[in-house]
């Protein structure tokens, strides 16, 4: 059985006939080819799959596409400007070496944007606490925290 679903992903209306079981992350990766959103666990903890659903961060591995019908979804692929210029948060991650293997990075950036929306001048401890839904095994988080601070500062300018 498949059901028609339509939603707006990175500014584009997309419609597809989908098995109700389809998770948002599966739709993004397998149907739309937006493979920047990753899957790193099966218990909704690593946060590699984080995207924005109607403007807030969610774990797309634990959301059915059906729950996002009619919604607006933003993924890592939707952040850069049309000319390819990276979003200030992406640029800050590069500048501060806030990534190594890059696998957790898209989810980390999407979470960072969510937290900066709510805490524009977040302190180190707030950033660390707010990133508790995102695991990184490479960086020890230090440069991620610095990148989020720098990205937030750049966004407020």
């Amino acid at each position: 059985m498949s059901v028609a679903q339509s939603l707006i992903v990175n500014g584009k209306l997309v419609t597809a006939d989908l098995d109700p079981r389809t998770l948002l992350v599966e739709f993004l990766r397998d149907h739309l080819g937006l493979t920047g959103t990753h899957v790193g666990c099966d218990t909704s903890q690593c946060g590699a799959c984080t995207v924005h659903l109607n403007g807030v961060a969610v774990k797309s591995c634990t959301v059915l596409v059906a729950q996002a019908r009619g919604a607006t979804v933003l993924t890592i692929e939707g952040l850069a400007a049309l000319d390819g210029t990276m979003h200030p948060m992406q640029a800050a991650f590069k500048e501060c070496h806030g990534l190594q293997c890059g696998f957790c990075t898209p989810g980390m950036v999407m979470s960072a944007l969510d937290l900066v929306q709510r805490h524009p001048g977040a302190s180190e401890s707030t950033i660390r606490a707010e990133l508790d839904g995102n695991l990184c095994r490479c960086t020890g988080y230090q440069n991620i925290v610095i990148a989020v601070q720098q990205g937030a500062a750049a966004m407020s300018q």
Partner: protein, 263 residues
């Protein structure tokens, strides 16, 4: 996941009828249910998506207390000015569930209907003896949680809202499991007009009231009184992360911190 049928009712009555007819399961935020389905640990034939039911939303305050719609997300409750002003302990509790992404999807109704033994919300519902309103009746917080993952809800019964009375003082502190960050021990203390109530989550198979702490805090609503209370280990959970003795030790320690946090 196993296959299922998905329906999207727009009224509580339709949702209840759909669940009763199909023997299916309500889907709120899905933060526990979808995880269990992915691991093939849950196999509902029909999922009844509640997200289109507007009457399940909203946070309001009146003389009875704060009434929160069942579909209010943990993030909405945690960020709510109404809740932060009138019942800051509840806002703090909601703001500490899971992580931000989970809080943006997970709902009050879903959390208490699921009644995970390590969940935070049941502690607030029980400590405040909140009133759970369903499509058919109201249920007192005291009689809602009946066992591990079990509640007083009948099949097809859907939580519509929960009303939390405003206590004189209340505080909640979670001591997190180092891995899952669920409550290893969570204690909600409340000083209400008719006495002190203390609920403990994470420590046993189901949230429970601690009479010993309630007695101590009724005498003196202080951190010292909580800390001096002795809790027995019998009946408490023992697992990889904490023995029953450690949980028994933590309960008054965390209760004392909850009292301190109650302002």
């Amino acid at each position: 996941m196993y296959p299922f049928e998905l329906v999207h009712p727009t009224t509580v009555a339709d949702a209840s009828a759909a669940i009763t007819k199909s023997g299916g399961q309500a889907l709120a935020g899905g933060q526990s249910l979808i995880g269990a389905m992915k691991l093939r640990l849950a196999q509902p034939g029909t999922l009844v998506d509640l997200s289109g039911i507007e009457e399940l939303r909203g946070i309001t305050q009146d003389g009875a207390g704060i009434t929160i719609g069942a579909l209010a997300t943990h993030a909405q409750v945690g960020d709510s000015d109404v809740v932060k002003r009138a019942l800051p302990a509840l806002a703090a509790l909601a703001g500490g569930i899971g992580d931000r992404q989970v809080r943006n999807m997970g709902t009050l109704g879903g959390a208490i209907a699921h009644n995970d033994p390590a969940a935070c919300y049941p502690a607030a519902v029980l400590a405040l003896n909140a009133t759970i309103r369903t499509n058919t009746r109201t249920i007192a917080g005291d009689s809602f949680f009946t066992g591990m993952y079990e509640t007083a809800l009948a099949e097809g019964e859907i939580i519509t809202s929960v009303t939390f009375p405003i206590p004189k003082k209340a505080g909640y502190v979670k001591f997190p499991n180092p891995a899952s960050r669920f409550a290893l021990v969570g204690v909600f203390v409340a000083q209400l007009s008719d006495g002190v109530r203390v609920a403990v989550t994470g420590a046993a198979s189901c949230v429970f009231r601690s009479r010993a702490l309630e007695d101590a805090l009724s005498q003196s609503f202080t951190a010292e009184a909580a800390r001096a209370t002795v809790i027995g280990a019998a009946g408490l959970n023992g697992d990889l992360h904490a023995s029953p003795q450690y949980r028994a030790h933590l309960i008054p320690v965390i209760a004392a911190r909850a009292v301190a946090a109650s302002g």
